[in-house]
């Protein structure tokens, strides 16, 4: 039994790194991903701040999961998340003012990062603390890795450096566009395409597109696909047991 728990702890942690990587595989939390990755350092700071909020709020959500009535579940989760985000924000402002200035309003925007609410809702509200921590830190680190790798690519091409260390000589003319919004979109699009090309070969499946805005509302899963259903069809879909959840557990 103990062994079983250990294995699943490990599993819950590792899955976030690649298999369920929030950015490259699940397409969640796009806005900080694109906004702050103009350098590797910024990506790292943002990733760590998000991991902190994600892990702390998972612990809290898991802790109160049995006390909170389901009607006010989302509201409670949001308040918990917003609280930790404020703490992270003050921490950065007090101890790392330059980083705080760089990230600007994107630190408070962690509140609406769908990754966090998504994990709270889909995982920590249903699992004990140990599993929730494993899940949250795995997802958080996966998120951080994705941000840093995107940051590295954009920094190399846009500024000719990695972690602010210049790596090219004078001959390299930086592509400023990579530091601009257009470069962010294009780089992430190409990276997702490349990762897809590999996973499609291996599993025959691409990213889980449409999960991007998937979260449950009043026991029904609101995803991009369900946007095309009429309320009646949704009702019908609701009547069916949630297959998606089950599949996840089996996987």
């Amino acid at each position: 039994m103990a062994e079983d728990t250990n294995r699943s702890l490990y599993y819950e942690f590792v899955k976030g790194l690649w298999e369920e990587n929030p950015i490259f595989r699940m397409l969640l939390g796009m806005c900080p991903t694109l906004a702050v990755t103009n350098s590797a350092v910024n990506g790292l700071a943002m990733g760590l701040a998000t991991t902190f909020v994600l892990t702390c709020s998972s612990v809290m959500v898991s802790l109160v999961r049995k006390i909170v009535p389901s009607q006010v579940r989302l509201a409670t989760f949001i308040v918990i998340i917003a609280t930790f985000v404020t703490i992270a924000d003050y921490f950065l402002k007090a101890f790392f003012p330059p980083i705080s200035k760089q990230l600007g309003p994107y630190v408070p925007l962690i509140v609406v990062n769908c990754v966090i609410l998504g994990r709270a809702e889909a995982f920590s509200s249903k699992n004990p603390i140990s599993l929730s921590v494993a899940d949250a830190s795995g997802i958080g680190i996966g998120f951080t890795l994705a941000l840093v790798s995107l940051g590295i690519v954009r920094e190399i091409l846009g500024n000719g450096s990695i972690f602010n260390i210049s790596i090219f000589g004078e001959w390299f003319e930086p592509w400023i566009v990579m530091l601009l919004p257009a470069g962010a979109f294009i780089t992430l699009g190409i990276m997702i395409g490349i990762i897809n090309a590999f996973t499609i070969k291996k599993t025959g499946k691409g990213v889980c597109f449409g999960c991007s805005i998937g979260y449950k509302l009043q026991e029904k899963l609101v995803t991009a696909e369900s946007m095309y259903l009429t309320p009646e069809e949704l009702e019908a879909a609701k009547a069916k047991p949630e297959k998606k959840e089950k599949k996840k557990k089996e996987g």
């Binding site: 003319e173 592509w175 400023i176 566009v177 990579m178 601009l180 257009a182 470069g183 294009i186």
Partner: protein
């Protein structure tokens, strides 16, 4: 029923017997006066720039089609046109590696990620150019002077384009100089006469939609003229707007690209008028001196919407 297949083809749906390569090569022929005049004005380096862009474009297309295991269509001339047009929008003296990057972006991001010719949303050459503008803003606004035997002043190597002079120094270049091309600017936008010659050929052959340039020029003359009447010391006259920058090459050779422009008569007019209005707004009130490229790209982006709302409704459908 199961065996029945609909033939789905993307635009351009060319209804005449003219084949794609035939039209494409006519466009290349129409560009020859502009190419010659650019060599005449700026020297042999403009020829090398054009060659670089064209070769890299064709090569990129070849590699992409090989990777995707599709038929290689580099002989249809469309990649070559994108390369030539891109080169014509670059300043003389632009570094070749950077120009090659622009050509790769133009063909890869502008065309092949959408599935190749017929599917692209944006004009590939302009995507390449917009990418280069954003990537190397200093290099791409370093305009070399026309060769000294054309110009009397020899004190400076670089020169401002008429539009930049208007924007930052409030000076208007003389119209005759702009017509001939003895001004600062990119390879293909300086000599209006050479471009008009090629455009006349294409119009005569009926290979480009006259309604699009007509829409552009009408709106430029009306809107630009209105501002000119309001304050002639601050705003240039409409003819300046037409001859300056990429207006002529944009209106005849880029906006008329069949794949990325609308498919109805009404759509052509909306498309053209939109480009004209946006160009005037960007030129007179924006931060950048030239707006033709961005106006065409923006109108490319809303072309699907224009088509959607100008298409005749099919009976029995909403």
């Amino acid at each position: 029923m199961g065996d029945m297949q609909f033939i789905i083809s993307a635009s351009p749906h060319i209804r005449s017997e003219e084949s794609v390569p035939k039209i494409m090569y006519s466009v290349i022929i129409a560009l020859i006066p502009a190419i010659i005049s650019s060599i005449f004005i700026f020297g042999l380096k403009s020829l090398w720039l054009i060659v670089t862009c064209t070769v890299v474009s064709i090569l990129t297309e070849y590699i992409f089609q090989k990777i995707r295991k599709k038929d290689v269509t580099i002989t249809d001339g469309s990649a070559a046109i994108a390369g030539i047009l891109l080169a014509l929008t670059l300043p003389p003296g632009f570094p070749y590696p950077a120009a090659a990057l622009g050509a790769i972006v133009a063909i890869a991001l502008g065309k092949h990620i959408f599935g190749g010719l017929g599917y692209n949303i944006f004009n590939p050459a302009l995507i390449g150019r917009a990418f280069l503008q954003a990537a190397f803003p200093v290099l791409i606004t370093t305009w070399e002077r026309p060769l000294t035997w054309l110009s009397q002043e020899v004190d400076a190597i670089t020169i401002a384009t008429p539009l930049a002079m208007m924007k930052f120094d409030m000076k208007f270049e003389s119209l005759e100089k702009m017509l001939i091309g003895n001004i600062g600017g990119s390879l293909g936008e300086t000599s209006a006469i050479a471009l008009l010659l090629g455009a006349a050929f294409l119009l005569y052959k009926g290979y480009i939609q006259w309604r699009i340039p007509a829409g552009i020029f009408t709106s430029v003359v009306i809107l630009g003229g209105t501002f000119w009447i309001i304050d002639p010391s601050k705003y240039p006259d409409p003819l300046f707007h037409i001859l300056a920058g990429g207006m002529v090459i944009g209106a005849f050779f880029m906006a008329t690209d069949m794949v990325t422009s609308p498919i109805t008569y009404k759509g052509y007019w909306i498309f053209g008028i939109g480009i004209g209005i946006l160009t005037i707004i960007i030129r007179l009130f924006g931060g950048l001196p030239e707006g033709v490229m961005y106006s065409i790209l923006l109108m490319n982006a809303i072309t699907p919407l224009i088509n959607r709302y100008t298409k005749p409704r099919i009976l029995g459908r909403k």
